[in-house]
């Protein structure tokens, strides 16, 4: 890596670390309690240019690559509240990147640029009550009527659904299956749009999650992202970035848990010496660290391929699968060293463990990851003619 890029990455990390520790971490518990982030956080981070690092300069972003997103994710996870990272990234990556990449200049100007500045908050709406991993089965329908689409349907598990100003929404504009899907940006002030309920999750509490409903929502046809019925491909491409974000998030979360466990194991005395004085615990944490390093190495490889613009679907899926599945065990081991206090709400390790349960389903389930790995690595025999 050239020195000037290494320097810039290092300065971005140091700046974010200071910002997170002074402006975010002290409020993390309040925001977990509130179930959402304040708009002021988006405005503050947007004003400093931290939300648009990977978005194009045409949209007011910095036009940098995923290595910068990786730093943003890692430092936000450092706040100890995964929900904060989820909410910010749902805005800065999931909802906006696809519009920036495939949308018109007009869409970039109206939706991406204000998102970069933190003035508008974005959400991505794909999952429905009857269609999660099976994106091709979504039912929310957009019917063209003159210069508008009329949208009816509902979405669920939508991060930022209650706080968003717009939802980048997957809708059915054509035939059944993946070839009839489009992406449309729907402002949440559109009559007929309702965020139906704040969903109560078992973790990532600072991230607002909603069910949203569209009833005869009339949206300008100009809000279509890319081509009509070309949405499935855009969503799948977007998922690569989203899964990479998740892989990075999981690795950072595992590091945080390991560091907490190690610190506690060295400090806490039991039977006259530190918990880590027991070889049983030394070896258990040695295993944990080895697992984390393996997850980080896979993730780093996927990031490297992705940044260089090479085919990375298989590697990203492996990084996400391995990290997400490992996180559950890592969380358990790292929490266990705390004894009874692992079960106490105010203990950071309890929150981290709870939050880590989101990983095997967020941005595609582990089962979908295995499916992609199988398909991209010649593990699926051709169908025999019947």
């Amino acid at each position: 890596m050239p020195d000037h890029i290494a320097d810039e990455l290092a300065m971005f990390r140091q700046t974010l670390r200071e910002f997170v520790s002074a402006e975010i971490t002290p409020h993390a518990l309040d925001w977990e309690e509130a179930g959402r982030l304040p708009r002021s956080l988006f405005a503050r981070m947007g004003g400093l240019g931290y939300l648009g690092v990977r978005l194009s300069e045409a949209s007011g972003g910095a036009g940098r690559d995923f290595r910068y997103t990786k730093i943003l994710v890692e430092e936000l996870v450092g706040s100890g509240s995964l929900g904060i990272a989820v909410s910010i990234l749902a805005h800065a990556e999931f909802a906006t990147k696809v519009v920036d990449r495939a949308g018109s200049d007009d869409l970039r100007k109206r939706f991406v640029a204000p998102a970069v500045r933190g003035e508008l908050i974005g959400a991505l709406g794909v999952t429905e009550p009857d269609a999660g991993s099976d994106v091709g089965a979504i039912r929310t329908r957009a019917v063209r009527d003159g210069d508008e689409y009329v949208v009816n349907g509902s979405k669920t598990f939508i991060s930022n659904g209650n706080i968003a100003d717009y939802v980048t929404t997957a809708v059915r504009t054509g035939e059944a299956g993946p070839r009839g899907i489009s992406l449309v940006v729907i402002p949440t002030h559109t009559p007929g749009f309702t965020a139906a309920a704040r969903l109560r999750k078992i973790g990532t509490h600072a991230s607002d999650t909603a069910e949203i409903v569209f009833e005869d929502c009339r949206v300008p046809a100009a809000n279509l992202v890319g081509d009509e019925n070309g949405g499935f491909r855009l969503i799948m491409q977007g998922f690569e970035g989203e899964r990479l974000v998740l892989s990075v998030m999981i690795c950072a979360q595992m590091r945080l848990m390991f560091d907490a466990a190690r610190r506690y194991g060295l400090e806490r005395d039991v039977f006259g010496h530190p918990v880590l004085g027991f070889q049983a615990w030394q070896h258990r944490l040695a295993d944990v660290l080895t697992t984390i390093e393996a997850a980080e190495a896979l993730t780093e490889r996927a990031v490297d391929l992705y940044v260089r613009g090479e085919e990375a679907n298989s590697e990203i899926s492996m990084a996400k699968l391995f990290s997400a599945e490992a996180a559950v065990g890592v969380a358990h081991d790292c929490a266990q060293i705390f004894g009874g206090s692992r079960y106490m709400e105010e203990n950071l390790i309890a929150r981290l463990q709870r939050d880590s349960l989101a990983f095997s389903v967020g941005a595609g389930t582990s089962e979908v990851m295995r499916e992609i790995i199988a398909r991209t690595n010649g593990l699926v025999p051709p169908r025999k003619a019947t």
């Binding site: 000037h4 810039e8 300065m11 971005f12 700046t15 910002f19 690092v53 910095a62």
Partner: protein, 253 residues
């Protein structure tokens, strides 16, 4: 309005600190901008922006890469002069002031030289006053706010009782008390711009100075005495009287 800000790059105070054999601080690792200097940088940026013209130039003497200077450039300073020279290892406060003064004289016209009241690693608190003396400029210390108007600098100077209102002719050397403003975070644009900003690296010989020895050397370093145990009072229901008595003795109440 051109403003010079003296800043120091120091080892991260949060990390473990080690001493060399000659009792000086080890400075081999990554150096960061001394937090106490970030207030002066912020005030300088505000003064420049209010004036609507001029430049903020950083002046620093420290070994190693200019990583801390880049942070201040990312905050918005315009350029930097960095004096790096192995012969300065262990330099005392007066020698430091001489080097900074020589660097200041290379920096062109200026209205103010701003510095922190003291550094976080050395804590001598004497360099700014020495610098003013060498430059033959007025020295105003412990500023909580600075305004430049009509060829004078107006400073609210923090005191134990409140603050003095002080004015002096410019150019002047002014030290800024830590915590009086909220230093800005470098924006991402600032971070991108920082590496393109002019940064002049100079050796002592470039400054026309001959400095290889100084009067002050650290003979030994002792640990601070550990705090003595306090007085314990068993509460028999009237312990509060003892507390009141103690506070009265200390003239707190």
């Amino acid at each position: 309005m051109n403003i010079l800000v003296c800043v120091k790059q120091i080892p991260d105070p949060a990390g473990p600190q080690e001493l060399n054999n000659d009792n000086t601080l080890k400075r081999e690792g990554k150096l960061i901008l001394d937090e106490s200097d970030s207030y002066g940088v912020e005030i300088a940026l505000q003064l420049r922006d209010t004036a609507g013209e001029g430049e903020v130039t950083l002046i620093s003497m420290s070994p190693g890469e200019p990583s801390g200077l880049r942070t201040a450039l990312a905050m918005g300073a315009d350029k930097a002069i960095h004096v790096v020279d192995d012969t300065l290892h262990g330099a005392d406060a007066l020698s430091t002031a001489k080097v900074l003064a020589a660097a200041v004289q290379r920096a062109g016209d200026y209205t103010l030289v701003i510095a922190a009241t003291e550094s976080t690693d050395g804590y001598t608190g004497t360099v700014p006053a020495q610098l003013a003396e060498i430059l033959g400029l007025p020295s105003v210390t412990f500023a909580k706010s600075i305004r430049v108007e009509g060829g004078k600098v107006h400073v609210d100077r923090q005191t134990e009782a409140g603050y003095d209102v002080v004015e002096a002719d410019v150019p002047a050397v002014v030290t800024v008390t830590a915590g009086v403003v909220e230093p800005r975070y470098p924006s991402f644009k600032g971070i991108m711009a920082a590496k393109k900003k002019p940064l002049e690296t100079l050796a002592v010989s470039d400054l026309g100075l001959d400095l290889s020895s100084w009067g002050q050397n650290i003979v030994s370093v002792e640990d601070a005495p550990s705090r003595a145990a306090g007085e314990k009072i068993e509460d028999d229901g009237e312990a509060y009287l003892k507390i009141v008595e103690f506070l009265e003795e200390q003239k707190v109440i």
